[in-house]
C-alpha cells in the first residue's frame, strides 16, 4: 500500500532543519525548510545522514544546458570557420524550445586542429553529439566542442538522401550509392551496438 502522497505549494513549511536536509525544490529560512515549488513532497533517507527533503514536479521545468553537458544537436548551417547548430536534447531530455549553438573550427577535433575543414566534418542536417564548453558571448550561442572520440556526427544523410553508415572516424558511406563522404564521426558506445 503506497504511503499517502503529500502535495505542497510554495511557502509551505515542511519541517525543521533538524529533521531533514533541504533538497531540490526547497529553501531554508530561520531554521525551517520551506517548499519553493508546487508538487509532491518526497523524503529520501540516506543511511546514516538526515533524510533529504525535496519537492518533485511531474513535468520537469525547463532544462538549461550546463557547461560540460552532452547535448544532441542538429547542424543548421556551416561556414568555413564554424558550424551553427540547434540544440535539441540535453542528455536524454528533449528541449521544448531549441537553443542555438556554435562549433568552432578549432573545437571539432582534438588533434591537428588547424587542418580541420568544416565542410569535411559536418553538413547541414547532420545530428551531432557535442559537449558544452561555454555559455557563449554576445550573440548568446552556446559554444560546443566535438573534440572527443565519443562526440561528433551520429546520423547523417548522403547527397542521395539515404542514411549513411560510419566506416571510420572520418568517413561515412552511403549504402545505396556506395559513395564515401567525410564527416567527423562519433565512436558508437559498445552498449548501443547491435550484434
Amino acid at each position: 500500500m503506497a504511503p499517502p502522497v503529500r502535495y505542497c505549494v510554495p511557502g509551505e513549511r515542511l519541517c525543521n532543519l533538524e529533521e531533514g536536509s533541504p533538497g531540490s525544490g526547497t529553501y531554508t529560512r530561520h531554521g525551517y525548510i520551506f517548499s519553493s515549488l508546487a508538487g509532491c513532497l518526497t523524503k529520501r533517507s540516506e543511511n546514516g545522514a538526515l533524510p533529504v527533503v525535496s519537492v518533485m514536479r511531474e513535468t520537469e521545468s525547463q532544462l538549461l544546458p550546463d557547461v560540460g553537458a552532452i547535448v544532441t544537436c542538429k547542424v543548421s548551417s556551416i561556414n568555413s570557420r564554424f558550424a551553427k547548430v540547434h540544440i535539441l536534447y540535453v542528455g536524454s531530455t528533449p528541449l521544448k524550445n531549441s537553443f542555438r549553438g556554435t562549433i568552432r573550427k578549432e573545437d571539432v577535433r582534438a588533434t591537428e586542429k588547424d587542418k580541420v575543414e568544416i565542410y569535411k566534418s559536418f553538413r547541414p542536417g547532420d545530428i551531432v553529439l557535442a559537449k558544452v564548453i561555454s555559455l557563449g558571448d554576445a550573440q548568446s550561442n552556446y559554444l560546443l566542442t566535438t573534440a572527443e572520440n565519443e562526440l561528433g556526427v551520429v546520423v547523417a544523410h548522403s547527397e542521395s538522401g539515404v542514411q549513411m553508415v560510419p566506416i571510420s572516424w572520418c568517413e561515412m558511406q552511403c549504402p545505396k550509392t556506395h559513395t564515401k563522404e567525410f564527416r567527423k564521426v562519433a565512436r558508437v558506445q559498445p552498449e548501443f551496438l547491435q550484434t
Binding site: 505549494v9 511557502g11 509532491c40 520537469e60 521545468s61 525547463q62 538549461l64 555559455l135
Partner: protein
C-alpha cells in the same frame, strides 16, 4: 482567471518560440552574474476598458505596471538558482464581453495581474519563495474597503495596492498615490492584507487540487 468583479487576466508565460526561462538575448551587459533577471511586460487589449482605445505598446502606464510587477516578482522568485538567465512574464488583461451597462465593475488590474502571474510562474515550475497575493484597498466615507471596483476607483478616494507573501506576512509591494491620513493607514492596510490572505486560501486550494489531478492523470 477572474476575480470578483469582471477583471479577467490572461497570462502568457510560454510563447511559441520563446521560453520562460532562457538565456539573455540582446545586450548581454544586462545579464546578472549571480541571479536571474525578471522581465515583466504589461499590455492591455484594445477592448479592455469601457471605450475601445488602441494603446501604443510602450506607453507610460504599461511601463509602470511592468516595473511594479517586476519589483513584486523579484521579491518572490528565488533568482539565485538561475544565474545569467532571464525570466519573462507577459500579462495581458482582458475583459470578455462589453456590457451595455454604463457601470462596469472591474477595478484592480494590478492585483489581478499579480495573482494570475503567480499561478503562471508556479505552473512553469520556477522556484518561488511563496505565493504572491495582491489586493487593492481604499478608504471611502470612513470605511476601509478591500478589492475596489471600477466605480469605487473612479470615485477618487485614496487607493492602495498591496502584494503580500502570505506565509511569512512580508510585503512584496505597497503602492499608493493619493493622500491618506496616517491614522487610517493601518485599517486600510489590514483590510488589504486580509483580502490578500483570502485570495491565498483560494489559490492554495486550487493549486493543490490541480497538482493532485495532474499527478493522477500522469499516473504517478
Amino acid at each position: 482567471m477572474s476575480l470578483p468583479g469582471h477583471t479577467k487576466c490572461r497570462t502568457e508565460y510560454i510563447r511559441p518560440k520563446t521560453a520562460l526561462l532562457r538565456k539573455i538575448r540582446g545586450s548581454r551587459s544586462r545579464a546578472l552574474p549571480d541571479r536571474a533577471l525578471v522581465n515583466c511586460q504589461y499590455s492591455s487589449a484594445t477592448f479592455s476598458t469601457g471605450e475601445r482605445k488602441r494603446r501604443p505598446h510602450g506607453d507610460r502606464k504599461s511601463c509602470e505596471m511592468g516595473l511594479q510587477l517586476r519589483q513584486t516578482f523579484e521579491a518572490a522568485i528565488l533568482t539565485q538558482l538561475h544565474p545569467r538567465s532571464q525570466i519573462d512574464i507577459y500579462v495581458q488583461p482582458l475583459r470578455g464581453v462589453v456590457s451595455l451597462q454604463v457601470l462596469q465593475a472591474d477595478g484592480g488590474t494590478y492585483a489581478a495581474c499579480v495573482n494570475a502571474a503567480t499561478l503562471a510562474v508556479l505552473d512553469a515550475g520556477i522556484p518561488m519563495r511563496d505565493f504572491v497575493c495582491a489586493c487593492s484597498a481604499g478608504f471611502v466615507d470612513g470605511t476601509a474597503l478591500a478589492d475596489l471596483s471600477h466605480v469605487e476607483e473612479a470615485a477618487g478616494g485614496p487607493q492602495l495596492a498591496l502584494a503580500l507573501l502570505p506565509a511569512s506576512g512580508q510585503i512584496a509591494l505597497l503602492e499608493m498615490d493619493a493622500r491618506l491620513h496616517e491614522d487610517h493607514l493601518e485599517w486600510v492596510l489590514e483590510a488589504a492584507a486580509q483580502a490578500a490572505r483570502d485570495v491565498h486560501t483560494l489559490l492554495d486550494r486550487v493549486v493543490r487540487q490541480h497538482v493532485h489531478e495532474a499527478s493522477i492523470l500522469l499516473g504517478d
